[in-house]
């Protein structure tokens, strides 16, 4: 008998690096609702808008359900045999470095562990890298250089404890909303907390800031060099700490002083007002509890590692590391970037935070694994890996749970590489991505809600991600697929795990193996958990050892570091500007997240309300540049570089610096004709971390004058609309497309019929000048699609039309439909501001007219901003500009 009763499971959110606890309510093998897990220390019951929509994204639509070879469904056996045969042959003929794994910060620690062990210990290559390379490898490298280990010293409680919070290269309000909200509450409780945002853009995060310093793109290290130099000048150094716990201080200071001897020079390097710089430096100097919260704006740079060390230098020089409210704090982007690092998921790491450069470490890992063929040197980092693939040095790549054809820089190169690669294996949960399109073998993998294992968040907290839904089709867990593969390669004994708990146990034992306090990562106290103990594992911060069985909130409070000398290192940082200088007429393109989307949208684009917030690729442009280029908000704008083109809607914004542009990273070939912004980003990487410079790329900008623009709503998905430009949004029912054409108007009626789903029941509006065309098709009286195009004037707002798909319409309604507007009844509520409660701008403005004059009163009236709070900065802006 079917069990229809509801149950609930505690698990961890699959989105950002905050790692929030989620309570999932399940009925009949369906996730019916999610809420924040009040017992989870990361979020204490709160969820952001993306997390709140998780239940809208778990449908099986679009899932990869069966193994495929060259697009044909095959059995698991055939698929794996093909992969094994090719890998074995290539390894045999060309050596282990002719193959590679490319992993994801989204997969679980246990998956990562197996992949890493197989490649580094058994195949004998270190060619296993991950998309975390794009996210935080500079932070890792910076920490390793300074602390001798990849250790995040701080914890989230420090947000409550700090008196000064400096956010650098972080739009936490959108990228890490729960931490941002935590800081908001901390500041509400203690209004004298100072919050400073260092960002070329005025982002939503600045809403909270006492001061926003819009520094020149990429100039961050100059600012922190200037700070170090100022601290010395102002006698604000912790001389005792430097003397007892640090090394390299003099060289670091000398270098800082050489570049940034005074405030004026520093301000000039950074394009800032010296008074602002002085204000910040004075604050930092006199505030013991200073927390520097940094993220991708620092990491995604050709000098990201130096930037991280410039920050850490200042904290070391003031003795502010790992103390309550006082620390450098790198926040990761992905849910399990940290877990991946812990098991050695990066090409330049071993496992359990051990290093290739350390012979003891190599021996330790090899012994523990009883590895027959231990890799002896670091492998290829992401960008190098795909270049090696294109050269033919790497002949087979297995991509797990990520979309490098979109997310890596110079995506045209990545695509070329994958096309040339002898064997591209992709394990994914989604069938159609820009990367699966280039795969030879597709392997269906389980996804969040099905997978079972652990993840580690940005504060070193290991949490369980629990499986509670049955996998659809023939999807299998990544660790199972890898173990099966390993067994077929002849390594069955070393990969005989029956359960993720078995893998976790081995991982925990390795972390303690020959450790004795010599390595930061030690969770030996979590070894030998029973399955039920593993299942019940509560969130806990590593290290977890016999000495600290309840975990460890902060690191390095004792001033002992994992360098050979036990002292932290300050590094002399020669601050550098972005590697690709702008030529005349170029703009600096910054890339990043938009509020409600995640990565390449394979999950978030399935939730219509997450797309309401912004539904097309866009480009933020400063008012000055827009005026000079005669670009208006809503115009289509083309950015080009590296022979690639990105097209988005202009958003003219006072928040953008002249000369700088911003574009979101999410769109790709599945969702837009020219939406993959990373195609414009040159594959320039940080020499230490290998992390690409995704934040500052020179591009050309051109305001486009489309011959026509249009909109299409269709019940059936249209894979590739026939227009020059398109972008796609998933609706509750069906899809919506924005369209534009740059060449001559088509012969509308024939053209539309040539690529839209056929119907014998068609209504049309024709214009003898062909400036306008509108049509709709019906199937059994129900609206199948509606198409509206115009060479002049505006298109109707899409909100109402979206609600009409699939409806049976009366004669009057059919004509009304082509008007694009409802005849009466519910008014169009404008652009959605609050995704959680679906509150639109018009309703908000109406409520403001009726007297609501604060975020609180708007919340009372409309509920907007009362759930995840992500929209509060926008609500404030509406109130401010009312």
């Amino acid at each position: 008998m079917k069990n229809n009763t509801e149950s609930s499971t505690l698990t961890t959110c699959p989105y950002c690096g905050v790692g929030c606890g989620v309570e999932a309510r399940i009925s009949d093998n369906r996730l019916i609702a999610v809420s924040g897990d009040a017992s989870h220390p990361a979020n204490k019951g709160r969820l952001c808008v993306k997390g709140s929509a998780l239940h809208e994204t778990t449908g099986h639509q679009g899932r990869l359900l069966y193994p495929q070879i060259q697009g044909q469904r095959v059995s698991w056996d055939s698929a794996l045999d093909k992969v094994v045969d090719t890998f074995a042959r290539l390894i045999d003929q060309h050596g282990p470095d002719s193959v590679a794994f490319y992993l994801s910060g989204q997969i679980l620690t246990e998956d990562y562990y197996v992949a890493n062990k197989l490649m580094k210990g058994f195949i004998g290559s270190a060619n296993v890298d991950t998309n975390s390379r794009l996210c935080m490898s500079s932070a890792v490298a910076g920490q390793k250089r300074a602390f001798g280990s990849d250790t995040v010293p701080a914890c989230y409680d420090d947000l409550d404890e700090a008196d000064l919070v400096v956010l650098v290269g972080s739009n936490a309000a959108w990228a890490h909303p729960i931490l941002y909200q935590r800081l908001v509450r901390a500041k509400q409780a203690r209004p004298d907390i100072q919050v400073v945002v260092l960002d070329p853009r005025r982002t939503a995060t600045c809403d909270l800031a006492d001061r926003h310093l819009a520094l020149k793109p990429g100039s961050d290290a100059f600012l922190f060099n200037g700070l170090l130099s100022y601290l010395a000048q102002a006698n604000a150094l912790d001389e005792a700490y430097i003397a007892q716990h640090c090394e390299g201080f003099d060289a670091a200071l000398e270098q800082a002083q050489r570049q940034c001897p005074d405030l004026i020079t520093t301000a000039a390097h950074c394009g800032l007002d010296p008074a602002d710089v002085q204000w910040l430096f004075e604050r930092f100097a006199c505030t013991e509890r200073s927390l520097t919260f940094y993220s991708q704006g620092i990491n995604q740079s050709s000098s990201g590692t130096d930037k991280a060390n410039a920050i850490i230098n200042c904290h070391l020089a003031t003795g502010r590391v790992g103390k309550p409210g006082a620390s450098p704090f790198s926040i990761t982007g992905q849910p399990n970037a940290m877990g991946g690092r812990e098991v050695g998921g990066l090409a330049n790491q071993l496992a359990a935070h051990m290093e290739f450069g350390n012979p003891t470490h190599l021996e330790t890992v090899a012994d523990f694994w009883q590895a027959p063929r231990m890799a002896q040197a670091p492998g290829l980092k992401a960008v190098d890996l795909f270049q090696a693939i294109e050269r033919g040095d790497v002949k087979a790549v297995w991509i797990i749970g990520t979309n490098p054809a979109v997310s890596l820089p110079d995506s045209a190169q990545v695509r070329r590489a994958l096309q040339r690669c002898e064997l591209v294996v992709v394990s994914d949960c989604i069938e159609q991505t820009d990367t699966t399109a280039l795969a030879d073998v597709l392997l269906p993998a389980t996804t969040w809600a099905e997978k079972n294992g652990t993840v580690t968040n940005s504060e070193r907290r290991i949490s369980r991600q629990r499986g509670f839904l049955k996998a659809p089709g023939e999807a299998r867990h990544d660790w199972q697929i890898l173990c099966d593969f390993a067994t077929r390669l002849g390594f069955g004994d070393a990969f005989a795990y029956q359960h993720p708990a078995d893998i976790f146990d081995e991982h925990a034992r390795l972390s303690g193996y020959r450790n004795q306090g010599s390595r930061d990562f030690d969770i030996s106290a979590l070894a030998e958990l029973s399955r039920s103990q593993y299942d019940a594992l509560a969130p806990i911060q590593w290290p977890v050892t016999e000495a600290s069985p309840e975990g460890t909130a902060r690191m390095f409070a004792d001033g002992h570091y994992f360098t050979p000398s036990g002292r932290a290192r300050l590094l002399p940082i020669a601050a550098r500007m972005p590697a690709n200088p702008c030529r005349d007429g170029d703009f600096v393109l910054n890339t990043g997240r938009s509020r409600d989307q995640w990565h390449t949208m394979t999950r978030t684009a399935r939730s219509p309300r997450l797309l309401d917030h912004c539904d097309e690729p866009y480009i933020e442009i400063s008012e000055r540049d827009a005026q000079q280029q005669r670009i208006h908000s809503g115009d289509l704008v083309s950015l080009s570089a590296l022979d690639a083109e990105y097209i988005g809607r202009a958003r003219v914004s006072p928040n953008q610096q002249p000369g700088s542009l911003f574009a979101p990273i999410h769109w790709n070939d599945r969702y837009a004709s020219h939406g993959a912004v990373d195609a414009l980003v040159a594959a320039v990487t940080d020499p230490v971390s290998g992390q690409p410079e995704l934040k500052q790329s020179p591009v050309r900008m051109l305001g486009l004058r489309p011959r026509w623009q249009g909109m299409l709503l269709s019940l059936d998905a249209i894979e590739t609309p026939a227009s020059d430009y398109w972008s796609r949004v998933t609706l509750e029912q069906g899809e919506r497309y924005a369209l534009a054409g740059f060449s001559d108007r088509p012969d509308w009626s024939d053209w539309v019929k040539s690529w839209l789903p056929a119907s014998t029941d068609l209504i049309e509006l024709l214009d003898s000048r062909a400036n306008h065309y509108r049509a709709a098709a019906f199937r059994d009286g129900r609206l199948l699609w509606v198409f509206i195009a115009s060479c002049e004037g505006e298109l109707p707002p899409p909100a109402w039309l979206s609600t009409q798909l699939g409806r049976s319409l009366t004669t009057k309604e059919r004509m009304q439909l082509l008007s694009g507007r409802p005849s009466e009844g519910a008014p169009d509520q404008g652009a959605i501001i609050c995704s959680c409660f679906q509150v639109g701008e018009k309703r908000i403005r109406q409520a403001m007219k009726e007297g609501a004059n604060s975020v609180e009163s708007l919340g009372k009236a409309l509920n907007c901003g009362t759930n995840c709070g992500s929209c509060i900065p926008e609500l404030r802006a509406l109130i401010a500009h009312a």
Binding site: L765, D767, N771, G793, T811, K812
Partner: protein, 419 residues
Amino acid sequence: MEQQKLVIIGNGMATSRLLDELLSRGASSYQITVFGEEPGGAYNRIQLSPLLAGETDRKSIQLKTAAWYKNHAIRLHSGDAVVQIDRAQRRVISQNGRVCDYDQLILATGSRPARIAAANQALAGIYDFRTEQDVEQIITQGACSREALVVGGGLLGLEAAHALAKKGLKVTLIHRGDWLMNRQLDACAGELLRAELAARGIRFVLGDEISHFEGETVLQAAVLKSGTRLNAQLAVIATGITPNCTLARAAGLDCDRGLQVDDLLRSSDATISALGECIEHRGRTFGLVAPIWEQARLLADRLVRGLATPYRDAPVPTKLKVSGINLFSAGEYLDAPELDSLTFSDPHSGVYRKLLLRNNRLVGAVLYGDAQDGHWYFELIQRQDDLSDLKPALMFGRPECSDDNPSLPATLAIQEIAV
């Protein structure tokens, strides 16, 4: 003061309206005499189609009873046509020999059915569709016929065909034009109309006309120019109307297509005025009631109050219901190179719209199936506002446009409009 003698020739709808207008102004200075060719008081000619279809009766379409004329001291000579106007003597002479002097004479002689060129039209069973008497004869003949022909694909012909089909006759409509109602609709709307009526059992022969009728004394068949032979026991000729100005012409008044009148509706003889379907004003003749009502109003103003307001021809929309199908046509209705058009078509629901613009000003509208916004378009045609910003919202009627452009008319004085 001695009463002036006002004589009105013709007792149709125009006269009926003129009498109302005169009386409402207190026409006590006139002694009014009306001559009517048809028996009885005035009736609503527009209602002849429903009468034929059996949807109404004679009593219901009566506009004025004999008693009404009596009560208002109007002398009515019905069934007695005037045969001569003696302008020199200012008198008229009727068929029955009545001689009646006038100080002011009004001609409201209406129109005659247009003739067709077919041979052998004198056979029994061939009728016009113009008078109550025609309707009675058609009904009588229809009762003993199986097959009927209707000649003319204008409004009247379509309604006759619809009415006969409803009575169970096998009806074929023959139309010279390439599509139905080709004076009001474009080809697309005409085709929609054809398809809809064909679905109700009426057969259509378009682009053809009758060469001759066959039969000894009674109609048996018609042969078309294309050679097609159609059996029929009943034929209704409804190919339109021509102004009836036989009398005026005989009296030496200036006539062209119709009796020519000036802006004060005076003929070439200042004591003789005219209105309605018989006149030609600045080259235009009339078939719809709205302008005729206006003529009646101005004429009464002049006769009773001495006001000399010139009559100005205004465009008139055709809004009508053919056999339950709503149609509207105003202004231009055919595509032309210098015109822009917007069209909406929903063949499945039988809805079609075409708007014609010249220099972004609306100059014509054809609505089929849903005529709701017709009046609004009509007003836009008269206003000649620049509508560049309203393309293509214009297509969806006033509510869609008034949001964008509040200056556009939101309401409109609705005119009673019919053929």
